[in-house]
Amino acid sequence: MKLLRLITLVAALSIPVVLQAQDPADAARVKEINRIKKSKDYLFAESTTKDLESAVDNALTLLELTVEDWAKQEGAEAKRFVVRANNDIETIRTRRGDFYRVFVYIKKKDVLPVKDDEVLMVVTPSAQEEEKKEQEVVLSTVAQESAVQASVTETAAVEVDEMVFEPVPEPESEPEPAIVQPAYKLRSFERILMQEIALITDFNKFYADRKATIRDFGKYPTPIPDGDCYVLLYDNQKKVQVYMHQIDGRLVNLWTLRDDRIDNYKTYRPFWFRLK
């Protein structure tokens, strides 16, 4: 009996060690991070901070520097570089205690250094070009910054209340001809919002958590207001497929950084929100 009590006591001392064991999902992500770090095929960066936004922003900034440095070492006189496809930057997010660890990475083959004397222009695609699997994002000679963007590998279903999937009227006008527009520069908070929106399961909760920054929002069939406004398009699986910014008379797809139209996505429905 006494021996049993002693054994129980010793076992109890061991329990805190077991309880501190890492969450299995987090452990799997850390394992994936280490796999990527060991591979020679990737460029990566990471940041661990108390708030998620800073961690994402810092990690992306460091990745830009890493890519620039790598491109120079490869011999290219690159001040800019082209990312082969917009969604090639992947993100893995884990925790270290109360801190957020954000790890961003890209395959080396998806980074193409660009020489200064190459003239590049942003061209609005036609509807057919949207069907292509691989897309090229190019920087205009006006834009001096890199085109690195974040996209999230994990997407979550978004719960939408009262979705009404009614047919959308056919556009009356012909598609606009390809025109040259100034390059849209993705801002840090937009990258972060893209990450947050792709992960939310409840847009109402997203709004409630961000009341300090979101002025108002609306769902289909509420018309999208004029002026500066963000528009999300959901498919019938309630997943966010397109994220746009309506500004200065344009609707810019924030994943492709090109002008876009809602009626290019006939089966999707819009949510919109405006920032304070």
Binding site: L13, N34, S54
Partner: protein, 324 residues
């Protein structure tokens, strides 16, 4: 007899508990080092060190250097860091590339969580990253905490004058080492990093009152010291205090236009010791002409408050104030 047997069994079981408490930390160096034997040596050294750190933190004891085979100066500096605040490595697998430095090699981004003691004022983030430097034979040369990432990002993002990544990292590396030298009371490093003709200026706020005991506006007086005078006084401070804690929470780096190897670094510094605390601006004039051995020619300190208000920016020492 039965009682003795029970106690022995229980003692054996309790002795096993610590071995389950601290997971060994494994280290893999991915890149930057072709010499396989050297790589393995450095990996094993780091693994042993980080595992011992975690074990000591878990068991609430001091670090045991007996089996680690570290140079004495490294053991002393680790003890100093531990005295300020014990810490632990957050990851049980470390995968990092190796950077080549003028003196050897460096592994950065070792994730640590600080676990400050209750009686200590701790004004930094609990999460820190360590840097371990090795000489060319793979022997540990130093272990120190890197600058807070936000400070690093300030330099990276905002300062157009420090574009070259390598030079930026070198400057920040030395600023990190400089800060750690105070925390670890590393007088030999400070002896080496200040040039022999370094100019040290220390500002002091003088609180004044009239003969009627009416407060008068504060005045800042500045005192010049030679390197020898400064380090002698610093030695006294180190001996008189059980711990010194220096933190930086703002940083500006400016390159001299006419002399591209000279950089002015302005830091907002918090200083705590067992007997004193202050905050102020430190300006350092760094000379990177010899990248293997950069030196500080000027160090100034000024209080960050004057007459109850923040010190005006144009009063803070900068590159423009020195003709050299």
């Amino acid at each position: 007899m039965y009682m003795k047997k029970s106690i022995l069994i229980a003692a054996a079981l309790v002795a096993l508990v610590p071995s389950f408490a601290a997971e060994p930390v494994s280290v893999e160096i991915t890149d930057g080092l072709d010499n396989a034997a050297l790589k393995t040596k450095m990996e094993l050294t780091m693994s042993s060190l980080l595992t011992e750190i975690n074990a000591a933190q878990e068991e609430a004891r001091n670090l045991n250097f007996g089996k680690l085979n570290l140079p004495k100066n490294v053991a002393v500096s680790l003890s100093m860091l531990w005295e300020n605040s014990p810490f632990m490595c957050t990851d049980d697998v470390i995968v990092e590339k190796c950077l080549v430095t003028p003196n050897g090699y460096q592994i950065r981004n070792i994730p640590l969580m600080m676990t400050p003691r209750n009686d200590r004022h701790f004004n930094e983030s609990e999460y820190q990253e360590a840097v371990i430097s090795f000489d060319r034979k793979g022997e540990v040369e130093s272990f120190y905490l890197s600058l807070d990432l936000n400070l690093y990002m300030q330099v990276i993002k905002s300062n157009l004058e420090v574009k070259d990544l390598r030079r930026r990292e070198l400057i920040l590396d030395y600023v990190e080492h400089f800060r750690t030298a105070y925390n670890q009371k590393d007088l030999p490093f400070l002896e080496q990093v200040f040039s022999d003709d370094a100019l040290i200026i220390t500002g002091k706020v003088i609180k004044r009152r009239s003969s009627d005991n009416i407060p008068l506006p504060d005045k800042i007086t500045y005192k010049k010291q030679t390197k020898r005078e400064y380090l002698t006084n610093l030695r006294r401070v180190f001996n008189a205090n059980s711990y010194i804690r220096v933190t930086f929470d703002d940083i500006k780096v400016m390159r001299d236009g006419a002399r591209p190897n000279y950089y002015g670094v302005t830091l907002h510094q918090g200083y705590s010791s067992s007997s004193y605390h202050d905050e102020g601006y430190v300006f350092l004039l760094w000379d990177f002409t010899d990248e293997e051995a950069p030196v500080v020619h000027v160090r100034t300190w000024q209080p960050d408050q004057f007459n109850g208000k923040p010190l005006p920016e144009d009063e803070i020492f900068s590159l423009a104030d020195f003709d050299f």
